[in-house]
Every structure is written in structure tokens, then in C-alpha cells.
């Protein structure tokens, strides 16, 4: 009948492999081969260029409000490449590179932010959910998919992405708890980019790390340098190894930074300092990875140029495909996918709508 400190079994770790100047902690090097490295680099560059193009499209009024991913490429790309096709990926809305890696057309984000449901149409054969707008509400969906795997003895895993702000929502908690209870093959990947619109992390939660939130659910958390592609890769790979081998869930906190606006409707100068942004510019994940690749002699000016050219061409082609979209939509589509069999009252409403459109077009 004492007074004593309780020791908690699961652990919280911190991991960093490539430092800001691109130097490697060799003991921790995952030894990614050249192809893999260059694939990841190309994916991140493509993600960055698409992002820049989308901001442009928004400025020109060719898409609506857009939420950029600048600065978070290592976090979501280096984690996504760990997955096998049979694994599932559940995004929030700042993981365009992850989706492209998984097989989504480059224009999916333009479609989504351009106001087309077609941007949420997961390609056939791809095990991803589409972008999710209500914060944290996708985490239970990912948990449910992992639950299905567990029930079906499917030896794969699920990754779900969310923001630091999302950890405040009840949905995060409930899904984390179920994941712990059922010991699900779930990787909960928090892109801690320090901001939830205007709210800094310090005002979002009093906990020192997001990773430690895993302790509330009886499993382990790890905090990684989210601008360090190798650390992200290693942490995610370990989490998937655990998931696929019945070891249960993992919480990964990738510490990164939202280098751009929250969305194009946002003005961050109202709530954060340029100094802070500039400090993070120096930790740019793509530049860091590039330095490392150059150090390993996997990359040189010529190859960088070649990659840039290739990427620009992919971006151009994506915009072209996107622009062709508007002509292919029918306002009556809003009835088309509502139900397997459209109930009689909706058939009548669709007819009412059809007639109205016809009249109004005259």
C-alpha cells in the first residue's frame, strides 16, 4: 500500500537520420538502393511542382480554394512508398504525392479542388480512400479497414494521415482506442506541421509530443524528423513490419512545417512570423534529400535538370487533362451515384431538375 510512480510499458522514441545539411547517421541508414532513392526524389519534386501549379491555377480562377503541401513532401511521400499495393492508404488532404505514388492521376488534386467529385474517384485497383475534409473523421475509417484485415487474416496494413490539429478531435481518440483494443495493423501518421490554420501546436495540446499520445492507448509512438525522408521511411517501414506481423498499431509523429498558406484563402501573416517560416525554409525536405543524394553521387546537375523537365511535362499534361474535364460533366450527375437504385421520389426530382435546366438554358 505504497505511493509509487507507475512505469508505462510502451515507449516513445525520437528518430532522425539525415541532418539539415544532408549528412547521414550511418548506423541508422536504411540502405535504400539508387533506384528507390531517385524514385522518391522525383516523386517529391513532382509533388512540389504540382503544388506550385495548383496555387497558380487557383490565382487564375481555374480551380477553387487550394490547400498546398509545400514542405511536407518527405513526410507523406517517404512514408507512402513503404506500402505494398494490398496495403491501404487513407489521406487527409495534404498528401498529393502519396496518392500519385499509389496510382492516382496527377490531376486528381486539381479535380478535387476544382470542384469535381471525380477528384475523389479512387482509380480501380487502388486501395486508397479519397481526400477527406472533416478533420480527423477519416481515422475511424482507416481503423475499420485495418479491423477488416484483422478479421480476415489479411497480412497487410493501413496508413492514415492526419494533421496535428486533428489529434484534438474525438474521432482520433476513439479510433486510436479501438486500434489498441483490437491490436489492429494500423499506422497513424500525424503530419505535425506546427499549425492548424492559425492555431500553433502549443495551443492545440499541452502534451510535449504528439507521439506520447499513443501511451493512452497502450501502444508505442515515435516522433521523427518529418523533413528527413530517411527517418520517415524507416519509422514507417518499422510500423508496417509491426502491423503486417500482428504487432499492432503505431503512432508516428512526423515533425514538419507547413511552409505555405493553410489554403489559398488564408493569410498567415496575420498569425505567424516570417522568421519562423524562414527558419524552416532551411530545413526544406527536398533540398536536404537532394544534398544527401548528391553526396552519394546519385544526383548531379544534369540529372536534376532531366527530372525537372520530366516533372514539368507531367504537370503540363495533368493540367491539360484537367481542363478537358469541365465539358464532360452533366449537372444531373448529382443523382447518378446517390443510390444503387434511384428511389421513385428521386427519379421525379431528377426529372424536375432536368426540366428546369432545359428551361433555364433557353
Amino acid at each position: 500500500m505504497p505511493r509509487k510512480r507507475i512505469t508505462i510499458r510502451p515507449t516513445v522514441e525520437y528518430l532522425s537520420i539525415l541532418n539539415e545539411t544532408g549528412d547521414l547517421d550511418e548506423a541508422l541508414d536504411p540502405g535504400l538502393d539508387a533506384d528507390r532513392c531517385l524514385y522518391l526524389y522525383r516523386l517529391m519534386v513532382l509533388t512540389r511542382r504540382l503544388d506550385e501549379r495548383c496555387i497558380n491555377l487557383q490565382r487564375q480562377g481555374r480551380i477553387g480554394t487550394y490547400g498546398p503541401s509545400r514542405g511536407e513532401e518527405a513526410a507523406h511521400c517517404a512514408s507512402a512508398i513503404v506500402l505494398e499495393p494490398q496495403d491501404w492508404l487513407v489521406p487527409a488532404f495534404r498528401q498529393p504525392g502519396a496518392l500519385i505514388h499509389r496510382g492516382w492521376p496527377e490531376e486528381h488534386a486539381m479535380l478535387f479542388w476544382g470542384g469535381f467529385e471525380e477528384g475523389c474517384r479512387t482509380p480501380d485497383g487502388v486501395n486508397d480512400l479519397p481526400l477527406n475534409v472533416p478533420i480527423a473523421s477519416q481515422v475511424p475509417h482507416a481503423m475499420g479497414i485495418a479491423w477488416g484485415m484483422k478479421l480476415r487474416h489479411d497480412p497487410h496494413g493501413v496508413i492514415v494521415y492526419l494533421g496535428d490539429g486533428a489529434t484534438s478531435e474525438g474521432d482520433f481518440h476513439e479510433a486510436m482506442n479501438f486500434a489498441g483494443v483490437y491490436h489492429l495493423p494500423l499506422v497513424v501518421f500525424v503530419q505535425n506541421n506546427h499549425w492548424a490554420i492559425s492555431l500553433p501546436l502549443s495551443a492545440q495540446t499541452a502534451s510535449e509530443t504528439i507521439a506520447q499520445k499513443a501511451l493512452a492507448y497502450g501502444f508505442s509512438g515515435i516522433q521523427v524528423d518529418g523533413n528527413d525522408a530517411l527517418a520517415v521511411y524507416v519509422a514507417t517501414r518499422e510500423a508496417f513490419e509491426r502491423a503486417r506481423s500482428g504487432g499492432g498499431p503505431t503512432l508516428i509523429e512526423a515533425v514538419t512545417y507547413r511552409m505555405s498558406v493553410h489554403t489559398t484563402a488564408d493569410d498567415p501573416t496575420k498569425y505567424r512570423s516570417d522568421d519562423e517560416v524562414q527558419a524552416w525554409e532551411k530545413r526544406d525536405p527536398i533540398a536536404r534529400f537532394e544534398r544527401y543524394l548528391r553526396g552519394r553521387k546519385l544526383l548531379n546537375d544534369e540529372l536534376v535538370r532531366e527530372i525537372e523537365d520530366d516533372v514539368q511535362e507531367r504537370v503540363r499534361a495533368a493540367v491539360e487533362r484537367y481542363e478537358g474535364y469541365r465539358d464532360r460533366i452533366d449537372p444531373l450527375d448529382c443523382f447518378k451515384y446517390m443510390y444503387a437504385d434511384l428511389p421513385a421520389e428521386l427519379v421525379a426530382q431528377r426529372e424536375e431538375f432536368r426540366q428546369a435546366i432545359e428551361r433555364e438554358a433557353r
Partner: protein
Amino acid sequence: MAQLNMVKALNLALREALAEDDRVVLLGQDIGQDEGVFRVTESLLKEFGPKRVIDTPLAEGAIVGGGIGLALYGLRPVCEMQFSGFAHQAYHQIENHMSRFRNRTRGRFTLPMVIRMPYGGGIRAVEHHSESREAVYAHTPGLYMVIPSTPRNARALLLESIRHPDPVIFFEPKAVYRAFREDLPDEPETMPLGKAQVVCEGSDLTLISYGAMMRPTLEAADDLASEDGSSVEVLDLLTVSPIDTEAITASIRKTGRAVVVHEGPRRCGIGAEVMARIMETSLEYLEAPVRRITGYDVQFPYFAREQLFLPGPQRIVHAAREVLAY
């Protein structure tokens, strides 16, 4: 043929669904070892094991949100909310997600899932255990909102709902759970969603209701027949979203008079919608304004005051007589 009450009938439908399709899984609080607080899941854990009948932690949002994930993965979850008043904890998952996946993914992902929940008053339950909020789900595009009224249609509609390719909210009138038995065919039986049923035919007046209120409604019809010699048609909506406008129209054009009955609040309730449809389709056929007998727009009282609050046959008879005398 077996004589079953509604609890047993629902249990039968669940057993049939579990047996015929191994993608069907049940999720909910206390549905396994405890067999459900109303025993609707009796013996199912024993028969189908813990991978088919799953006790969950106490979090409705995760039961529905997790159910969505299970359905996306390819299973057919049947989620139980212990009482409909606690489905509110999952409302964001129902409204923002469960209702939308087919449309937003242009048909790539569908959600063949059911949320079962006991609803309604009359069983001396504590606060939050007596409400009827079917109108909220009826207002939500993308859902089916089904409410059986007898053991036989409960079994048939639940089985159909589980087989259905789109998400269904399935309200169970707990006041009917053990109220009476009915003969059920041995073979699995289903009824189509979205179809009302003429429970008894008549020519002077139509009574329209569903769920637990079918009993006082039918009693009222009997009283009107025996005491007034009125010929009363009774329509059981069975599905309140979509609503079977055709059946309502057919009846109203015959009788020219109607009373709608439900226990949920009046404002923007199912009664309002039925009246609006009658207005739209059959105004010229009306001999009198349609009346509604409903719960009042106040909180459902704690049970010491509930018996008088709930619409009963007398209140329905009174309104019907006024409509007939109009």
C-alpha cells in the same frame, strides 16, 4: 411457421443474415457475451463466434466510423447503437460520411451497412432513451430510414436492409419488442425498402403511421369502425425515407381525408412531409385538411409523465372524427 415477438424476429433476421453471407459482421456495445441489452443478439456470439459478433468499446463514433471502414474493406457491418439517443455521438460519421461514399467516389466505393437502433417511448426508460428522431435521418440524403411495426415485417425488412447495397438506418420500436407475437414463415422472407403497406382498406379516411405508433393507430381504426361505422384505411409507411408517395396518393385520392400519426416532434417531422406531398399531389381530392397527431415540440418527458404524452388511440380517434366531420 413460428410465433415470435419482435426481439426474436430481429434475432432471426440477424441469424439468417450471418448464415447466408459471411461478410456480415455485427458490431456494438454488449451485443456479444451479454447478447444485447434487449437480447436481440441472443446466442449469436455462441453460434458465429467473436469474429462475426463483436463487442466494442464505448464509442458510437468509432462503431459507425469503423463500420464504414469495414464496409469499404468489403464486409457488411450491422452496427448497433444501444439506444437511438446515443447515435448522436456518431451523427457526424452518419451525416458526413456514411451517407456519401457512393456519390463522392462516383460509385467506386459503396457502403452496404446497417445501423440498428431501438427508438421511441413507452417503456419507462430513463432520460435520452425514449426519443424518436427518424426525421433527422429522413432529411439526410443518401440514407434509407426504415421502421418496422410488427415481428414479421421487422424480420423481413432487417434481412432486406442487410442485403441492401446502400446504407440503412433501421429503427426498432422498442415498445413493440415484446408486445405481441406474430406468425413468421420458416423460410427467410424479405420486403422491399421504400414501400408502404395498406394494413387495412377503407374508403372514408386514411390513417398514416409507422413503427410503434401503428398499434394505437390500428386501435383507433377499430374504434372508428365499431363506434362510428367509419371505413378507415390504414397505411404503414415502413420506410420513411424514401417515402412511398404513390401509396399515400392512391389512398388519399380514394378517401379524401387523412390523419398522420407519429411520436417524434412535429416541426419538420414525417407528418409535415406527408402533408406536403398530399398538398403537392392531391389537393383537389381533399375533403378536409389533413391532421397530424404527433409528439409535441418539447423534450420527451421522463417516464412518470410519458403515458399521457404519447399519442394514443383516443387522440387519433378524436382527430379522425374532426376530419370526418369537416
